[in-house]
């Protein structure tokens, strides 16, 4: 047992039913080190870290802290060992301010908020956090909420920090700030593990990289001695081309014209504020923005699923005739002959019926077809078989509930069905979220294929690197307003990042 490791996990195995989420994994981290835990979705990163933070207990294997065996049965016990984890979904009380959230759940006998605030300030200045302690959580941005989560854990005395996909919701600028803080903490001798699948961030911030693949430990390398290509091969198990093809469609034409689109939610909050843009045939229009900037509302409004307060959405037919879609239900839109396909963010809660098989899900687009009261099963069945073959959907059968399929296969079923309708407009929201690299590239290729068929593709993405490579134009949303529509071939990631946080109506417009 080497004394210089802060945490050492040895032969950790965790099973869920017959699924082996972690298979004999050994991992170690020193103090004053940033370790990146890299792996595709479903490779067992979060499971492994959940065992370190006391959420799960390992079925086999031991954990040592500073060479002594420890048994962590709850997050509270994890804190007593100085281990704290920042989860992907923050657990904060919206109506409390920063300090109140930070001391929440601590049992020190009596509550002295003033003293607590002083200690919190001291932590903030030591590591370079910028935070307004009296602010209520509901007034905060995602990045500020994340800051509170980190401070909360430091306040509890953690010196081993685990961050689960911390940059997934941050802009490039916020990511840089986070990295600065992480480096400060490292200098202070803390051990930091970040779970991620973004290679460029791994290269930038970590000292060492440990790679998991399908629940197995593949190896650890020093960041200075590796490169993205090599890491990808470790992650995927074979070499992958990391380039996205971006052909040019010869004759783009207007397909969907949105003008002054304004939407207000049930509580009277403006979700979209006079959004205007044109989606052309043979173009992928990427939509960038911090999560919750109106992306979901935009697509749902176009699909007829979100009430529109004012503005116009016009579908341009092949003959140039324009059709107003505002005020039409999804059924009416389809009956009007508008070929619109929509891959929503919530795949199982909106795009698919989880309890049904592929056939039942194909019927979601065709169940009305045919006369009489009975449903036709033959065509959807054939479509299901086709999609299963063409997109390599891994399922025990076309009637196996899609809820039980892996995320990638679920998305293949959904995208496959939407493309099968030969749409004129294809809208996708976070189409590759949670998918492995191979499936992600399958989806990118499918979208590009559709674009070259003359489909107007609208692609809401969260990974700016991908958006810049895949899209032709990028529309940036900031707080429900369009802060710019830019050429994806010339714009830089930093420029888009700035537009995501600042509304600058006159700059950067095409």
């Amino acid at each position: 047992m080497e004394e210089n490791y802060a945490i050492e996990m040895k032969g950790i195995t965790k099973r869920f039913g017959q699924v082996v989420a972690n298979d004999g994994i050994s991992l170690a981290i020193k103090r004053g080190e940033i370790l990146a835990l890299l792996g595709e979705n479903g490779s067992g990163k979060t499971t492994l870290m959940n065992m370190l933070s006391g959420i799960y207990q390992p079925d086999e294997g031991e954990i040592y802290e500073d060479g002594k065996p420890v048994y962590i049965r709850s997050p509270r016990e994890a804190f007593s060992y100085g281990i704290g984890m920042i989860h992907q979904h923050y657990k904060l009380i919206e109506v409390f301010n920063a300090t109140q959230n930070i001391v929440l759940g601590l049992d020190d006998g009596r509550l002295d908020l003033a003293a607590a605030a002083k200690k919190v300030k001291e932590i903030c200045s030591r590591y370079g956090f910028e935070i307004d302690l009296s602010r209520k959580v509901y007034e905060m941005s995602v990045s500020q909420k994340q800051t509170i989560e980190i401070v909360k854990i430091l306040y509890r005395g953690a010196d081993i920090l685990i961050l689960d996909e911390p940059t997934a919701v941050l802009t490039p600028q916020e990511t840089q700030k986070l990295f600065t803080v992480l480096r400060n903490m490292k200098k202070d001798g803390k051990a930091i593990i970040i779970i991620t699948h973004k290679l460029n961030e791994v290269m930038e911030v970590s000292d060492r990289v440990a790679v998991l693949r399908k629940g197995k430990y593949i190896g650890a390398v020093n960041t200075s001695e590796t490169n993205p290509q090599m890491l990808t091969e470790m992650m995927v198990g074979h070499s992958v081309s990391l380039n996205i093809d971006r052909p040019v469609y010869p004759s783009p034409q207007r397909k969907l014209v949105v003008e002054g689109l304004t939407c207000v939610d049930e509580e009277g909050i403006t979700k979209l504020d006079s959004v205007s843009f044109t989606a052309n045939t043979g173009e992928i229009l990427g939509v960038a923005g911090i999560s919750g900037s109106g992306q979901r509302e935009l697509l749902e409004a176009i699909a007829g699923l979100y009430p529109v307060k004012s503005g116009s959405i016009r579908f341009v037919g092949d003959d140039g005739a324009e059709k107003e879609l505002v005020g039409l239900t999804p059924k009416k839109i389809r009956e009007a002959g508008v070929g619109m396909a929509f891959v929503p963010e919530d795949r199982l809660g909106m795009g698919l019926v989880g309890s049904m098989g592929m056939t039942g899900n194909m019927m979601l687009r065709s169940w009305k077809n045919g006369r009489g009261a009975l449903v036709r099963r033959k065509e959807p069945e054939n479509l299901a078989k086709n999609i299963m073959e063409e997109l390599d959907v891994v399922t025990p059968g076309i009637d196996y509930p899609v809820r039980r399929l892996s995320g990638g296969n679920v998305q293949k079923v959904l995208v496959g069905r939407e493309i099968a309708g030969e749409p004129a407009v294809l809208m996708t929201a976070y189409a590759v979220r949670g998918l492995d690299i191979n499936t992600s590239y399958t989806i990118y290729n499918l979208l590009t294929e559709q674009k070259m068929k003359g489909v107007a593709v609208i692609y809401i993405g969260e990974d700016l690197d991908v958006l810049l490579e895949l899209a032709d134009k990028i529309l940036v949303l900031c707080g429900g307003r369009v802060s710019g529509i830019v050429d994806a071939r010339t714009v830089t990631k930093e420029e888009v990042g700035l537009m995501m946080t600042e509304y600058r109506p006159e700059e950067g417009r095409l």
Binding site: R15, Q57, R73, L348, G349, M350, S355, L364, W367
Partner: protein, 363 residues
């Protein structure tokens, strides 16, 4: 301290998929366990459980006349379970079948009382059937409309509607439809308003068996059945697919209420030959048990409603023969429901005991 002593005594582990045979085995085992647990209340009342179960079976199935009476109990249970299944599939918690049965019975009774002499037998029954269905359907439509329009809570709404329906009958009993003054009773139906018997039981059993097939096809093969299944899974998905959710909720509730109304008609016209405020007699609630235990499968409902009918009929015999209170039937039914629902838990999860794990590790 060793790792073993630190792991919890019992842990839950989610199962993946279980073989169909094994699932069936667990369900059967849960019934057996329920029957064993049912011995406890019997012992507490000082009864020998084995002879008590013997009496239950004897009293419900040993002679044709008993079987007929048992079937008579099962008919409304089965019919009503078929009625509420589409609502439950849609996750619309209709617990107002009791009131829908009652309103169906009211409509049927009106024609039985006032049209019996002017209309021929078959026509009268047809009118009673149709108006009972319409009355039950309309009664169910009220909460459905409020749900669709203002998203009111259907559970409370349907429940409250039961008491209104029962209140209406109580008023009719003591007021406009009262037979002999002061009797608080509605007169018995004339023969022409009574359902004919087939094989010794009123022909309602043919109607409910036909409904079993019809509802099976409706739920599994029709466009409307598909819509119901999609809404039950996710309302957003249904909207996304272009379904008019509010309209479908109202339509499904009308169908559900209509079937309950028909059950009400069968009760007054086939079994009671009169109307009183307790006409539904808890069928609307017991049938929820039937529908759940059958996992909303029409054919399984036949078996489950028969099992519950056997227990109920047998418990009556138990009361007369061994002077055990008949409410023992409710206790056994409750235990049965508890065991069968918890069997679902064991189908989805398995328990891992600390000691077993230790042995495995050593091996």
């Amino acid at each position: 301290m060793s790792a073993e002593t630190r792991t919890p005594l019992i842990r839950l582990v989610k199962r993946t998929e279980m073989a169909k045979g094994k699932v069936f085995g667990i369900r059967v085992a849960s019934i057996v366990i329920a029957l064993i647990l049912g011995c406890i209340p019997m012992l507490l009342t000082g009864t020998d459980p084995i002879s008590a179960y013997g009496v239950i079976i004897q009293g419900s199935l040993s002679r044709p006349i008993y079987i007929k009476q048992t079937v008579k109990i099962a008919i409304p249970l089965l019919g009503c379970a078929l009625a509420i299944a589409p609502c439950f599939k849609m996750r619309f918690w209709n617990i107002g079948a009791e009131g829908q049965i009652t309103m169906g019975a009211v409509a049927a009774t009106y024609f039985a009382l006032f049209w019996a002499e002017s209309v021929p037998h078959v026509v009268l029954l047809a009118i009673m059937f149709i108006t009972a269905a319409a009355a039950g359907g309309l009664w169910a439509l009220i909460p459905a409309f409020f749900k669709a329009r203002w998203n009111t809570n259907e559970t409370l709404f349907t429940l409250m509607m039961n008491y209104i329906a029962i209140g209406i009958v109580a008023w009719l009993q003591g007021g406009p439809w009262e037979g002999r003054k002061g009797s608080q009773l509605i007169p018995m139906f004339q023969d022409s308003a009574r359902l004919p018997t087939v094989l010794g039981v009123h022909c309602g059993w043919i109607i409910v068996l036909a409904l079993v097939f019809i509802m099976y096809i409706y739920m599994n093969r029709t466009k409307q059945g598909y819509e119901i299944a999609v809404i039950g899974d996710s309302v957003n998905t249904a909207r996304y697919a272009g379904m008019n959710v509010g309209w479908i909720i109202m339509r499904t509730m009308f169908i559900s209420g209509a079937i309950s109304g028909i059950v009400g008609f069968m009760i007054v016209s086939g079994a009671n030959f009169t109307l009183y405020s307790g006409v539904a007699d808890g069928v609307g609630f017991t049938s929820i048990t039937v529908a759940w235990l059958s996992q909303l499968n029409s054919f399984a409902m036949i078996a489950v409603s028969m099992i519950l009918a056997v227990i109920e009929k047998g418990a009556n015999t138990l009361q007369t023969r061994l002077s055990v209170p008949a409410s023992i039937a409710d206790i056994i039914t409750g235990i049965l429901l508890f065991c069968m629902l918890s069997s679902e838990f064991f189908i989805n999860y398995s328990l891992v005991f600390r000691r077993r794990e230790k042995k495995e590790a050593e091996a």
